[in-house]
Amino acid sequence: MDWLTDPLSLELFRRALIEAVVMGATCGAIGAYVVLRRLAFIGDALSHAVFPGVVLAYVAGWPIFAGAMIAGTITSLAIAVVSRGQRIREDTAIGIFFAGAFALGIVLISTQTGYQRDLSAFLVGDLLAVGWDDIAVSALTGASVIGVLVALRKELLLVSFDRTFAQALGYPVFALELLLLLLLTATIVVSLSAVGIILVLAMLVTPAATARLLVDRFTPMMILGGALGALYGVIGWYVSYHLGWSPGGSIVLTATLFFLVVFVFSPTHGLLAHRLRRHPQHDVRPAIDQPPGHRHAGSEDAVVASLERRHPPGR
């Protein structure tokens, strides 16, 4: 059992584990909305949009959380407002703002010297640098996000399932959708230290998509997503500790592996289950959303690579 208890002997590692669990649970829970409302692209955009806020806060010496939250909120608002009109489609609006914001972050970096090492931690996460104050912020934010998701579960579910009907009932649809984006932003911000800007999308999508393959109801999907996210945090963190791999990378790879296993073996929606009962009367099950691939890995890889060329990441 040493392999289980050894890593817990140091406070440094205990903190990292707690942060990973908080991140995983929050991402996994809100992930139900990301998957069902097809917000993966928006989630990706928001994670990049917080980047200039992070850089600015860092340069100005503000709390990183505040800078990221402000940048994310502005972007959420911009996306929501621009895509409200019908001339610019939502994905176009998102593309414009997220690439623009990310570019701003890159330009801001390029004007600084000596920050590359820390900033690369924001791109891919740096669990071991997490302090108790970070954990307090993450836990409080995570609990708030989940609290709002629970308190407004009916309203958010209604707007997600049938926007037109929600409007007809007189619900403030725009405000609720914006709220969801803000919750998403907060989730992304607390995830930065664990998995970073680039990998957070995986945590927003993969646990929830895995849960969707296992259950057919919304609330169970959300609970299972949160539980799986937390579990991936624990497993990934242990893997990272014992094999010396990047913690963020290990957590996300754990999530990916679990998804693939469930995708094949799920008793209800799995590939094998479908093969085994290929009778026409059973083919009424609707298709499940597949998590989208990472569409623009090239540009980020280039940034990370250039950062790492200058400052090879140590552990």
């Binding site: 069902l36 019908q86 001339r87 308190a151 407004l152 009916k154 309203e155 579910l157 209604l158 997600s160 399932f161 049938d162 926007r163 037109t164 009907f165 409007q167 007809a168 009932l169 007189g170 619900y171 969707r212 259950v215 057919d216 109801r217 919304f218 999907m221 009424v284 099950r285 609707p286 298709a287 499940i288 959303d289």
Partner: protein, 264 residues
Amino acid sequence: MTTAAPPTLELRDLYAGYDAGWALSDVNLEFPPGKLVAVIGPNGSGKSTLLRAILGLVPHRRGMVTLSARPIDRQRIAYVPQREVVDWSFPISAEQVVLMGRYPRIGPVLPAAPADRAAVAAALERVGMHGLAHRQIGALSGGQQQRVFLARALVQEADILLLDEPMTGVDLATEETIGTLMRELRDAGATVVYATHDLETAADISDLLCFVNGRIVAFGPPAETFTPHTLHETFGGELMIVDAGDHAHVHGGGHHGHVDVPKR
């Protein structure tokens, strides 16, 4: 229905549209309580827009919509959107969808009360879906999905029901259920307004017909409005009117069936 007197829905100088130009212009209508009204017109004529404009769901709207001379109270209007507007692979059950009609009564934070659950069960029973309450909605047939939407409107216990093409793409049994239900609601004092493609059924079961084509072409009882002239004004070249003795056969282009129109 509520204890208050059944309200009259009134549209005054209503214009409604989505982007450039009005999809619907100069609408002046009065829907008296206790009437079943069919809104008839070709695709893109503004049938849906009319229903959506009443609820304020179109981006641009001018004019007035009142309920007994007061601004509309959305709680008193139940809306059944077209089936295509939602993602049926969503992981919820028929019962959960129907419960959504009660959300405004339940309010935020709180769970559904036993009375709400009972209303949901009763509505599902009424549309012949009681055995399928726990079925995931994607596993239901088109007709069953439409019944779920209908049950969701029922639990609102509204005075006015607006249904957007409830009979399009459903099986015959569902069509009959919907027709019966709409008449029952009408008999109970509700105003029921539904958009439809089916001229024949509309003329058969409705108290009033509302012909729409970017404007209101005609509004009144079938005996007065269901004329070759109105049909031509509404459908233009889409309809072929064939003289067949004492009745004119009308063949709807793209619409199913043909109808007999009394010649006058």
